[in-house]
């Protein structure tokens, strides 16, 4: 079996599992309880929050634990826009966001918000002149991902943040789901940012929202006061505790890991140049972990299915997109429906071995014969 879908989810690291088991067995109290067992459980959360705040260079009060990036994105987008609709009702996003960003924005659109979309330049980066042209006095939110989940292109957040200096009402929400374990985390350009542990060798069902203290949002889950009054519910103690080893594993020796993944990426790019119907859609400067490829004349789902016969697993598109439609990201970059229809994404990890890549390339030869000729 060759797993090449690390951007959809990652296997849970052993240290993460150990931490979860240890904390779950040792601390039985509800962290919201005022007795000793509750206070001990709460201390575990406080320690993890302190670690994460240091790691992300933010304040402990700026971390909100959630069930994952979908909830974080919903809380940021709906929570911020609903709390600030008296200031404005204009949102800017891109056409390439994850469904957990699109859906809350759709919800707001149905409730009277106006949505505009940033265009990309020919390199797949945000067209800053176009961005400036669609900003309005009543723009309250700009919502973008740090890394495009399909192509791996990075968003130029620094420039975007700089432009927003003239629009103090506009806050920037960044879906940083694909950043964990793929690049050095930098929250200095974000007012709010969403993370999910499962993308960085942690558990599914736990994530966090970074929200600057001066950004006013309202909760989307109402209940009693918990670790924050913005997210009610008994804190998932074991899962929250597991975030520390998750971030440790994702960030330790990051540069070395990135260099290694680059060598895997380069090996694939070099080999696939031999195929006339293959086009690498991910630009050279995209993160090395994501490689979007087309086999012209075929279609993404058929290609993924053909590989599955050989026990090679990856996604035709981002795992959360509708299966059969052309890739919007590939279409935007190349304006070629054939490339957009025949694209698929493989995603790599420091766990991927060179032997696996060599085997993948051997299998690619067979699949190419099946789907392209």
């Amino acid at each position: 079996m060759i797993y090449l879908d690390y951007s959809a989810t990652t296997p849970v690291d052993e240290k993460v599992i150990e931490k979860f088991i240890c904390v779950t067995k040792k601390y039985i109290g509800n962290p919201n309880s005022s007795h000793l067992l509750g206070r001990e459980a709460k201390e575990v959360i406080d320690d993890v929050t302190l670690y994460l705040a240091k790691e992300l260079n933010v304040k402990t009060s700026e971390i909100i634990y959630t069930s994952g990036a979908s909830e974080s994105n919903n809380l940021a987008i709906k929570g911020y826009c609903n709390a600030n609709k008296h200031i404005g009702k204009h949102i800017i996003t891109s056409e390439f966001e994850h469904s957990s960003v699109i859906a809350p924005i759709s919800y707001l659109q149905k409730n009277g918000f106006i949505v505009d979309f940033i265009k990309l330049d020919p390199n797949g980066e945000v067209d800053l002149n176009h961005f400036k042209s669609i900003l309005k006095e009543d723009t309250i939110l700009v919502s973008l991902s740090s890394i495009n989940g399909e192509l791996g292109t990075k968003t130029n957040l620094k420039e975007i943040k700089s432009i927003l200096k003239d629009y103090p009402n506009a806050k920037i929400h960044v879906d940083m789901t694909q950043s964990l374990g793929k690049e050095k985390l930098d929250l200095s350009y974000a007012d709010m940012a969403a993370f999910s542990a499962q993308k960085g060798y942690g558990f599914k069902g736990i994530g966090l929202l970074y929200k600057k203290d001066n950004v006013n949002i309202e909760p989307i889950i109402h209940g009693g006061r918990s670790t924050t009054n913005l997210r009610s519910g008994t804190p998932a103690l074991g899962l929250i505790a597991s975030l520390q080893p998750t971030f440790e594993v994702s960030n330790e020796n990051l540069e070395t890991k990135i260099e290694y993944v680059k060598s895997l990426n380069e090996k694939i790019r070099t080999n696939l140049k031999n195929y006339s119907k293959v086009h690498i859609n991910s630009p050279e400067d995209a993160v090395a972990h994501i490689l979007n490829i087309s086999i012209k004349g075929s279609d993404g789902p058929s290609i993924a299915k053909a590989f599955e016969k050989y026990e090679v697993y990856f996604s035709p598109q981002s795992a959360c997109a509708q299966g059969t439609s052309p890739s919007r990201s590939v279409m935007a970059l190349y304006n070629d429906i054939d490339l957009a229809t025949s694209s698929f994404r493989i995603s790599l990890s420091y766990l991927t071995t060179m032997e696996e890549i060599e085997e993948f390339l051997n299998i690619f030869k067979k699949v190419y014969q099946e789907v392209a000729l």
């Binding site: 056409e95 966001e97 759709s106 106006i114 949505v115 979309f117 959360c320 509708q322 299966g323 919007r328």
Partner: protein, 91 residues
């Protein structure tokens, strides 16, 4: 004359099309019925909607389908299609 509009919350094309729909139908005499692709399954199953959304379905006074528009269309394209329906004196 009715128009059934089927979209989903997570669908980018639907997000793009909703304001265009609102604009082109704002000055036209259609009874508009909005359905959610995921939540209104029972109501839309009879329309046999495929995997591509959004979908616009035009129905005559007897609820017979007379036109279906699937996926993204520019505002101008929508105006032309609706104009063609008008020309055929269907409305």
């Amino acid at each position: 004359m009715k128009v059934i509009r089927i979209s989903a919350m997570w669908c980018m094309s639907c997000l793009l099309m909703r304001p265009r729909w609102d604009k082109v139908f704002s000055n036209k005499n259609f009874e508009i019925i909005d359905y959610d692709y995921d939540l209104d399954h029972d109501q839309i199953v009879k329309y046999e909607v495929g995997k591509i959304i959004p979908v616009l379905i035009f129905l005559d006074e007897n609820d017979n389908e007379i036109k279906r528009i699937i996926g993204e269309k520019k505002e101008k394209e929508l105006e032309i299609i609706i104009g063609e329906i008008n020309e055929k004196n269907i409305i």
